[in-house]
């Protein structure tokens, strides 16, 4: 129990190590003390405590539960303490580079991100354009929408064999899977956004005699921007989901292949560390797109 609490503290927040005494209920002490102290400090610090402390406490608790659950002799999965020992180099040195397949997880994530960037970037461009067409033209909608609705339900990996056959190469196939996975929410949300452009904006464009390209750039994209960014945000989440699965099958040096490789060599601790990397990266990607959306669409929602 003592070891459990200290280990949990160490892996999550190294700076609290000195605080955590060898008392048997270290976690309970942390939970009880911090909120009481929060009341006496500056509002800014209080805000940080409000936002950072609760997930931290939950994380520590979860690690503790995990540690307890996996500590008995017949456990099939390693406890956090074992992960820390086994995969210390992966956790502490994300950027090491010892040759082709022996590189830090940050490099692998970056390689996967590169594939996502290409596939998702193409999906964003094509998706916004197609969505604009579907939203603008009633006949394009009637013709294309049912097909989009069917295709979007196809799971990402179902596309992989076909794209491998078509491209004859694993890298473009993985990129295609990203593209085809993330394009649907972009198309559908853009179309909804374009359909919801107020008539007033259209009338202004007509009075000014904006040509279709000017209308697209000056009215349609900014007016539909909140919807477009909703689509992009869903799309980037999906593409991050798909890349890991696609890389497991296509190989290469991405984070997905690393997991497959680790599984084949029974390095379960490495898989757990890779999952943490993937989760954090996905979270950051989502927040980045949301932030970009907020910056670009400021003022658009309110009128």
């Amino acid at each position: 129990m003592t070891a459990t609490a200290r280990k949990a503290d160490q892996s999550a927040t190294p700076k609290t190590v000195s605080e955590s005494s060898s008392d048997k209920s270290a976690t309970v002490v942390v939970m009880a003390q911090r909120p009481a102290r929060k009341l006496n400090i500056q509002p800014a610090l209080a805000a940080i405590c409000r936002n950072v402390l609760p997930p931290l406490v939950v994380l520590i608790a979860l690690l503790a539960i995990w540690q307890i659950a996996c500590s008995h002799p017949g456990a099939t999965l390693p406890p956090p303490s074992q992960v820390w020992i086994d995969s210390y180099d992966l956790i502490a040195f994300p950027f090491f580079d010892y040759g082709s397949q022996d590189i830090g997880l940050a490099w692998r994530v970056l390689i996967s991100l590169q594939r996502v960037a290409i596939g998702f970037g193409l999906a964003a461009i094509v998706g916004v354009f197609l969505g604009a067409v579907v939203g603008q033209s009633i006949w394009a909608m009637r013709g294309l929408d049912p097909i989009f609705q069917i295709l979007r339900t196809v799971p990402p990996l179902a596309w992989l064999p076909l794209s491998l056959a078509a491209f004859q190469n694993s890298n473009p196939s993985a990129i295609f899977v990203i593209f085809i996975t993330s394009i649907w929410p972009v198309i559908i949300n853009t179309a909804v956004g374009v359909r919801n452009i107020p008539d007033d904006y259209r009338n202004i464009a007509r009075v000014l005699r904006l040509n279709p390209l000017e209308f697209f750039i000056r009215i349609m994209v900014p007016a539909a921007a909140p919807y477009i960014f909703t689509g992009l945000r869903i799309g980037i989440g999906l593409s991050w989901l798909a890349i890991v699965a696609a890389e497991m099958l296509t190989g290469g040096v991405g984070i997905g292949f690393f997991i497959w490789d680790a599984w084949n060599s029974s390095r379960l601790s490495d898989i757990i560390v890779a999952l943490a990397y993937i989760g954090v990266t996905g979270f950051v990607l989502d927040k980045l797109v949301a932030l970009l959306g907020n910056v670009i669409t400021r003022g658009t929602a309110k009128n």
Partner: protein, 265 residues
């Protein structure tokens, strides 16, 4: 016969699901250059439809609208519209909203510096030069409508179409904007058509008031000349006999002869 704007026996009907609704029936009107004409009527009488027909935003079913003897069949900047709810683009600043119109309408005709100067001149005309870098969400309703007017004026239109421009504003702001429009009209001599449902506003601003009968198949019931010399002052007019008589004539038309009956739909 050479009227500036000629509305020539126009009909307008909408068809939806097999049922045809006649909105306007045999409407004819001529407007001279520099004239300020108000169109007044109860809601639903088709006055906004009439304005949209002049703007070219909707097509006539029969008849024609002629501006300087050229038929109107599409919208264009020479018939600039100030919409009821200002309809500024919220992602652009005040300056950019006006500049969007200026850069499109004067593309190839003005240099960049001239365009900038023209945007600022029109913003100053409506006293909005100070707020040029603000976004529509950051300014009041009256200020938004001022910018809407500046955007329309910046197109250098042959005719300015105001679609209940002050309808959504409080009484004090409305009075300020009416004065601003009168001043601009006096300075620039624009031809202006304004849709309104406010009797005082119509009498104060207009040279002529066009009174519409109730729909469906609305037509022009009466046209009233308002022979009050300009510049007009709202305080002095409050006791002016011509003003009161004009006002009474419009009120009688709207509330005695063509009382609004709530349509039972």
């Amino acid at each position: 016969m050479n009227a500036y704007l000629k509305i020539d026996h126009i009909d307008k009907s909408f068809e939806r699901g097999g049922t045809k609704t006649e909105v306007l029936k045999d409407v004819s009107l001529t407007i001279d250059k520099g004239e300020f004409v108000s169109i007044i009527g109860h809601s639903g009488c088709g006055k906004s439809t009439l304005l949209n027909l002049i703007a070219g935003l909707t097509r006539v079913t029969a008849g024609a609208v002629l501006l300087e003897n050229v038929e109107v069949n599409a919208p264009g900047p020479e018939r600039a519209v100030v919409f009821q709810n200002h309809s500024l683009l919220p992602w652009l600043t005040v300056y950019e909203n006006v500049n969007l119109a200026v850069s499109k309408v004067f593309a190839g005709r003005k240099t960049k510096a001239e365009k900038h100067e023209w945007v600022m001149r029109n913003l100053d005309l409506v006293q909005m030069g100070h707020a040029k870098d603000k976004r529509p969400a950051e300014i009041s309703g009256g200020m938004k409508q001022r910018v809407g007017i500046a955007r329309a004026l910046a197109m250098e239109p042959k005719i300015l179409l105001l679609d209940e421009p002050f309808g959504a504003l409080d009484a004090l702001t409305r009075a300020h904007l009416q004065d601003a429009v009168m001043e601009i009209h006096a300075r620039l001599g624009n031809t202006i058509i304004m849709i309104t449902h406010d009797v005082d506003e119509a009498v104060l601003l207009s040279d002529r008031i066009v009174m519409m009968t109730n729909g469906p198949a609305a037509r022009i019931g009466e046209v009233l000349e308002v022979p009050i010399p300009r510049p007009r002052d709202r305080i002095a007019l409050a006791a002016d006999r011509t003003y009161l008589k004009s006002r009474e004539a419009v009120l009688k038309f709207l509330y005695e002869r063509h009382r609004f009956v709530e349509a039972a739909e």
